[in-house]
Symmetry: C2
Subunit: 409 residues, 2 copies
């Protein structure tokens, strides 16, 4: 990465420290003048008054550039990186947010601008992870029915190589992630706190697991607390990042319904799973199902029907990893092809499936792990997630496995 | 009733013996030439060949007029009557069926013409009973959730003085009737067999109870068996008689969905109660909820929103019974006004609520029962059902209580 890009990254981080995410005035100014000039303007009082008022509370308290640099150093230790619109990994669909809330009251639609940047933990390129993704959100106080349904949908989306995107809450969010993980799939947690600040705290292990096989992302710098209003700001990212939003269980005023509303505003499919009319946890679902444009879905078939429609004119998912595999010698290639995506196979089984002597498998498979083609799991091995169709790990070249933050920097 | 009307009634009954209900060729011929001439033509070979082919199987087997007369005599013993389009009680909305299936394939839409007549058991005028009515239909093999929901909807419809209309099956149908009965409301069973042929047999008591407080109706003469195809023919009457159809639980190919389809074809609200996506008994519901024009309802508020919309331009429900009450002397009137519609009150409570000495209540209330204003139930008395707003008992004059079939003849 060149110095110019690093300067932009630091300026964006500094701006993000001065204002909360989603600020439309700052976003517009950055779109017009670029982040470096906007930051300079704010710090030197050279910019228009309105913008200074937006950032006023924090101006002069500390040096935003120094804070941004400290945050970056900390992030490196955490294995996190900062993805910015000027870089390769930026998911372009987030820019759809720039039209959101236009013409609506300022109070309601203040915090809906596209993010200035995203903090990311995990081995995937952010843009590719989100390319075929569905948001699965819903009640924290989910019933066993809601938890089962969310887990099932997460599992089946992953089975069909769609990524799951959700918050990190109890109930539906967590079960959707767990379903995707159980299927060996890619799942993305979008936090309303720093990527090092698990909330709820008891989900720290879940988020760590997601950061290994999927992504944990946030608009807030490390160490940020999950204040209440941040969840609503965060929801627009979940809606904008994905091809559609599914709500599984929602009480009458559930925050999940705000994500659904955002999806509709962004012209992405707004989908709802019904439930018993006797359940308070489905009241919000049914209320929204009675509105125009909201689609009832009972499972992944229906969901893919909706998001598939949107993506019908898309190119086929990228199949980069095939090239990586093409570079292997025939025996290693057969070993890789013998791996399953979800079920770990012991070395004996891999050898048998590949038709390769066990001693060759014992010698070669560890190298395939180092090379990023296989992953050790339990007492066996699975196919590395980036070798699934349509997935490439973070980093530009599709030839290696997940790379460390140091390599990426 | 005059002789001309009796001749028409007999001719219609005889035609109904010659062809199954819903026959469009016979309906059209009857509309053009009248039932007496059509019957004469069929019996004397004076009518077009097509019609004779329709009735062919039964022509010459017996004398249809004699059979019709025998059926009428039998019906009188059963306390049933025959309601015909030429009479006062005919529900005009059934004629909407004449446009049904036009332009569709003959095989599919053969049996959809309006009924030639209806057999009726029960104390209400058929047209008035159906004026504010909703069909509540669904799975025979309903789950406890479906049964609970059907009963609740039946109960709440009755509480709001809407009549329930359904078939006589186990599960949703029976629970909808039971809910309406529990609320002291009016419910209508539409059978696919003779009104003296309860099906299922174990519902004989339920149908007898409905025939006391509501109506049991059928297009088939007494003694007719409920053959399978008759349920589908019957369903169009349920859809056409009511202001809207609600499906509570339906498996993928449930007959209830045919009633829903008929309602939609008739431009009446087609409503569906959702359920858990994990329940096979809601698969048909969800499938239909994904179609355009089908409305999700979670309870009676939603249902009345739909059917109320249709009836927004209706006159206020008839309040005939008020006139009947107006004819009473002040003490009797206070006693009647002290009665509740559902909860039986002992004489002491009636007297106390009315502010009438107990000895006067003991003397006068039995006369109010004889006069059709009160009904003895359990250890107390309730308001006679026809005194509820919008209901008048069968018979033209709104001054008396339910009348016997003999009085009606």
């Amino acid at each position: 990465m060149n110095d110019r890009l690093e300067e932009i990254r630091l300026a964006r981080l500094a701006l993000g420290w001065l204002v909360e995410p989603g600020n439309r005035a700052v976003y517009r100014s950055v779109s017009r003048h670029g982040p470096v000039r906007v930051l300079d303007g704010l710090l030197s009082a050279g910019l228009d008054d309105r913008l200074r008022r937006e950032a006023g509370a924090r101006l002069g308290v500390a040096d935003p550039r120094a804070l941004a640099e400290a945050a970056l150093r900390r992030a490196e230790r955490l294995g996190a990186r900062v993805v910015i619109p000027e870089g390769d990994e930026w998911p372009r669909q987030l820019e759809d947010l720039r039209h959101l809330g236009e013409g609506e009251s300022a109070a309601l639609e203040r915090d809906v601008a596209p993010p200035l940047y995203l903090w990311v933990r995990g081995p995937w390129r952010l843009d590719e992870a989100l390319e075929r993704s569905v948001a699965v959100v819903g009640a924290r106080a989910a019933t066993p029915y809601g938890e089962h349904t969310a887990r099932q949908i997460g599992y089946e989306l992953a089975q069909r190589d769609w990524a799951v995107v959700s918050g990190g809450a109890f109930g539906v969010d967590a079960q959707a992630h767990r379903g995707a993980l159980a299927a060996g799939g890619l799942t993305v947690v979008v936090l309303a706190s720093g990527v090092d600040r698990p909330y709820p705290v008891s989900h720290a292990n879940l988020f760590d697991r997601v950061a290994e096989d999927g992504l944990v992302i946030s608009e807030w710098p490390p160490d940020t607390d999950p204040f209440r209003h941040r969840f609503l700001i965060r929801n627009r990212v979940i809606a904008a990042a994905t091809r559609g939003t599914v709500v599984v269980e929602a009480a009458a005023r559930s925050g999940a319904l705000q994500t659904l509303r955002r999806a509709g505003q962004l012209h992405r499919p707004a989908m709802v799973v019904p439930g018993p009319v006797t359940s308070a946890m489905s009241v919000g679902c049914h209320e929204w199902l009675r509105r125009d444009g909201v689609r009832l879905v009972t499972g992944v078939e229906h969901i893919l029907e909706e998001v598939g429609r949107v993506g019908a004119d898309l190119a086929a998912p990228p199949r980069g990893p095939d090239h990586a595999r093409d570079g292997l010698d025939p025996i290693r290639r057969r070993l890789v092809e013998a791996l399953l995506r979800r079920k770990p196979l012991p070395l004996e089984a891999v050898a048998a499936r590949a038709g390769v002597p066990l001693r060759d498998a014992m010698r070669l498979v560890p190298g395939l792990v180092t090379g990023g083609f296989a992953v050790a799991r339990g007492a066996g091995y699975v196919l590395a997630p980036h070798l699934l169709p349509g997935r490439r790990p973070a980093g530009s070249a599709p030839t290696g496995g997940p790379v460390s933050p140091a390599e990426r920097a």
